[in-house]
Amino acid sequence: MTRKPPDADDEKFTRRHALECMVWAGTGVLWTMSGGVPVARGLLGEAKAATETGFSFLQMSDSHIGFNKAANPDALATLREAVAKVKALAVKPSYIIHTGDITHLSKSSEFDNADQVFGETGLRVHYVPGEHDIIDEARGQAYLDRYGKGSKGAGWYSFDDHGVHFIGLVNVVDLKSGGLGNLGAEQLAWLADDLRDKSSSTPIVVFAHIPLYVLYEQWGWGTEDGTRALALLKRFGSVTVLNGHIHQLAQKVEGNMTFHTALSTAFPQPAPGSAPSPGPMVVPSEKLRSMLGLSSVTVRQTGTPLAIVDSTLDR
């Protein structure tokens, strides 16, 4: 495994490492929740079976359209490959949730290219911005002009589908020196209000760009006031939190909450602390597609477990 920290002598086989290894091997893993504990059930075929009784949506993330450096000279081409996979799915997902960094530099041409390729899926895309999507001169206006219709503040919103309450949060705006991702008082007040009338048995899916919990503080991988959002979600029986930003899979379960970060379709980033910085990780070109991908989330009609299947571009 090339991502092992050079100074990590112990061969401790953590769940994340196991998950990473399986994904690198190009397999899809079906995670289901049973009593709050994720269980790997099998491969892609079983995910399809689950889909037949429920509904599914896709999580795509970190497209970084415009990125053309050594780690991937053509991020648009790998997005096209991911979209080709979406178009080929046997069971059509309901929509795509995009967890941010659609573009690399918030340029109009980058947004245009992304829109054109995502448009080929024929699926609606629910976006939240990443920090790369709000670096236009007007600091986020370009994003809001395209995707902000019906949203509040910097682009947060919620919607209901198949009995699931979906909440898109923005944690990349107004970041404070020395800090992490930031939701802010206005958004947290909105979230409290949004959840007020929801019954605790309503399955909740929250999506935002930066992980809501602190995954690796030294690299800024976390949200300063994320615990305040999670406190508001604690009473719900099933909460699934989907994030991007770190360009690798990470899964964590805490009580009724499952946290999942998706792969990027543009370039991989190193495991926490395994490199001098979280910058784009250059891997041999024949390996790149095994480290890029997308996730399929299946919601069953009968109960709370959501199954998340991650698949890579090389299969």
Binding site: I135, S177, G178, L180, W219, G220, S277, P280
Partner: protein, 126 residues
């Protein structure tokens, strides 16, 4: 200037010498002042580079009037934002630069607007 012969000073000579000393002192003073002004206007520029999500040097001390240029050498864009909002760069793509001239003394903390765990400080001396 013609060298004065060595002899006992007469009052007129003393006045003359005093005038010369004063003239030299004033000239020197003015010269020093002018040199300082020139120095302030053309203080050697200073550079901060961004490598591996780190400002280097993270702490920079420069005299007032110095133009500091930040250059991003990462494959990811960064920005330079003063904590007190005194200055703010656009997003800097790879090899892009941003310059700001510090005209007043003080301590100026800054961070990256995209990755706020990246911080730095410029101390400006009078």
């Amino acid at each position: 200037m013609t060298p004065q012969p060595h002899h006992d000073s007469r009052p007129s000579d003393r006045n003359f010498r005093l005038a010369i000393v004063l003239a030299i002192a004033t000239g020197l003073g003015t010269g020093v002042l002018t040199a300082r002004q020139v120095l302030a206007a053309t203080a050697a520029p200073a550079a901060v580079t961004i490598d591996n999500f780190t400002f280097g040097p993270a702490n920079l001390t420069v005299p007032a009037g110095t133009t500091v240029t930040w250059t991003n050498r990462d494959d990811i864009p960064h920005s330079v934002v003063a904590t007190d909002k005194a200055f703010r760069s656009a997003a800097l793509d790879t090899n892009d630069s941003y310059s700001f001239t510090f005209r007043t003394a003080g301590t100026f903390a800054y961070f990256c607007g995209l990755h706020p765990h990246m911080t730095g400080k410029v101390t400006v001396t009078p």
